[in-house]
Amino acid sequence: MRELLIVANKEFRDGLRNRWVLAITLAFALLAVGLAWFGAAASGELGFTRISTTIVSLASLAVFLIPLIALMLAYDSIVGEEEQGTLLLLMTYPLSRTGLLAGKFLGHGAILALSTVLGFGIAALVILVFAEQATPGNLFGPFSLFIVSAVLLGWVFLALAYLISVLTREKARAAGLALLVWFLFVLVYDLALLGLLVGTEGQVGAGLFRVLLMLNPTDVFRLVNLTGFEESAAASGLLSVMGDQGYPLSLLLGILVAWILVPLTAAAALFSARRT
């Protein structure tokens, strides 16, 4: 347990030193404030737009950005140490492979959580101060839910990044695989679902479609943030197929948590089973 915290602490420090925390925080804050400010431009006016619109646009951009950042942050966490020779060295220390992986997740997870909370938190404050219609009451709920789900989404792709890092033996390959995974989850999956829907002329059962949609963590993240707002019908694309059927929030968040635990466990198992 102590080793775990030592590794986490080192990764976190590394993240601060590499300006990862700063970069992610700034990116998120600018993105959120920008969207809030320019969100109304579509209707021909400048100034802060409605909170629901802001959340909806934020979610549809964050769904591209967060997985990419998480994958970039952690894709080389094991394979990189292997290439620079420190993995072999660490294995001669009293530190288990699972401990190393868990420590890294803790460290990277903290980096991602801190930047997400700070970035979007700052944005929320800016909106609160400058937007007339924003009150702590109507801002806090949707924004906290958005931040929580964004952190969970980041952790999902961190877990996937470790799986990639354990599966590959070269950093370049891991980077390629990380991009592929991002592409698959963020773009290809939805296109394939759309293709399925069009190809079968809507004959695919609503039940099956719901299941397929909930299999993809990025779609789950969208569901958490888009449904429940009237704007979502226009902005959420595929999700509008779902009509007005709501999902219990706990189920959606539970799916995200499962998407963290399963790849992480798989990565730990594969890593421990390695013979070299």
Binding site: E3, L88, L89, M91, T92, R275
Partner: protein, 311 residues
């Protein structure tokens, strides 16, 4: 005295390829073993077996009296120091931060890390990022890391690669100090000039097999390589040649009248020197025992022949 490391008929296969076969070796306390071999001879595999990172496919590995992969492995690892080949650490952290990280993982007080930075001569650069370090400085940092917690067994994989002569001397001096303090060292290396004086025993690996092991003197005896004698003086011919021929000496004249080179059997060393000293107009004699380099080449060539015979 109990052996620090004991390998008993150890074998290690990687997908059908024998990285090591039938390897038996002992390392006594305070002994420095030079592990020689070309790339792929099995040096690193042997080190990984001793470190418990790899399990042997067959045979038994015992380190400090325990199985390095057994349930005492954690305590065991606190007593081992290891310097991997080509380790490059974390570029964005400072040397001190890197060493503190490893110090914490090894459950040692931080003061020890700062003392070691001083000892390896990195104190002045300890708060600079590792990114800015030269190859030699990185190696020093690696060495400081290996020395954490005063290990009873130190494994150094090519510790002098890429170092300037001064730094090489420092590394050897450090090994000498450790040897005096009773630390056992396995020094894995290509053959390097000057390493002889710092190792007690040599083990030569080739294609996963142990070709020879013993003190350098024992290996010289085993190899039976001749002494090289260089003689300078006037009129070194006729009667001298006759006397030397009887001793089994080969004479190579280097085309000059005033100097000859001899190859003499080790057993005849004194007799040959006596014979030479009888010469009146002798100016100089220099005697050179077979170098580690020559020994290694000898055993390695034999090993390769053997390997081909099996193939």
């Amino acid at each position: 005295m109990n052996a620090i490391v004991e390998l008993d008929n150890v074998e290690r296969r990687f997908r059908g390829v024998h990285a090591l076969r039938g390897l038996s070796l002992r390392l006594a306390p305070g002994e420095v073993l030079g592990l020689l071999g070309h790339n792929g001879a099995g040096k690193s595999t042997m080190m990984k077996l001793v470190l418990g990172v790899l399990a042997p496919s067959a045979g038994r590995v015992t380190v400090l009296g325990h199985d390095p992969r057994g349930n005492r492995a954690r305590e065991l690892r606190l007593q081992l120091g290891y310097l991997p080949e080509n380790v490059s650490f974390y570029d964005s952290l400072t040397g001190r931060e890197v060493l503190h990280y490893f110090t914490r993982l090894k459950r040692i007080v931080i003061a020890e890390a700062n003392r070691l930075l001083e000892q390896v001569g990195l104190a002045h650069a300890a708060d600079r990022r590792v990114r800015t370090y030269s190859k030699g400085m990185r190696q020093r940092l690696g060495l400081a890391q290996a020395l954490l917690g005063q290990p009873r067994l130190l494994l150094l994989d090519e510790p002098t690669v890429g170092l300037d002569p001064m730094a090489v001397r420092d590394v050897y001096a450090m090994i000498d100090t450790l040897r005096t303090a009773g630390t056992s060292v396995i020094l894995c290396s290509h053959v390097l000039p000057g390493v002889e004086r710092h190792i007690d025993r040599v083990a030569i690996l080739c294609q996963g097999r142990l070709l020879a092991s013993g003190t350098i003197e024992a290996l010289r005896e085993q190899a039976g390589l001749p002494l090289q004698i260089h003689v300078r003086g006037q009129g070194l011919n006729g009667a001298l040649h006759q006397r030397l021929d009887d001793r089994g000496v080969t004479i190579e004249s280097d085309g000059r009248n005033d100097s000859i080179r001899l190859k003499a059997p080790v057993a005849e060393k004194i007799a040959v020197l006596r014979a030479l000293l009888e010469e009146r107009d002798l100016n100089d004699i220099s005697v050179e025992s077979p170098t580690l380099d020559a020994l290694y080449a000898h055993f390695d060539a034999r090993g390769r022949d053997g390997g081909q015979a099996h193939a």
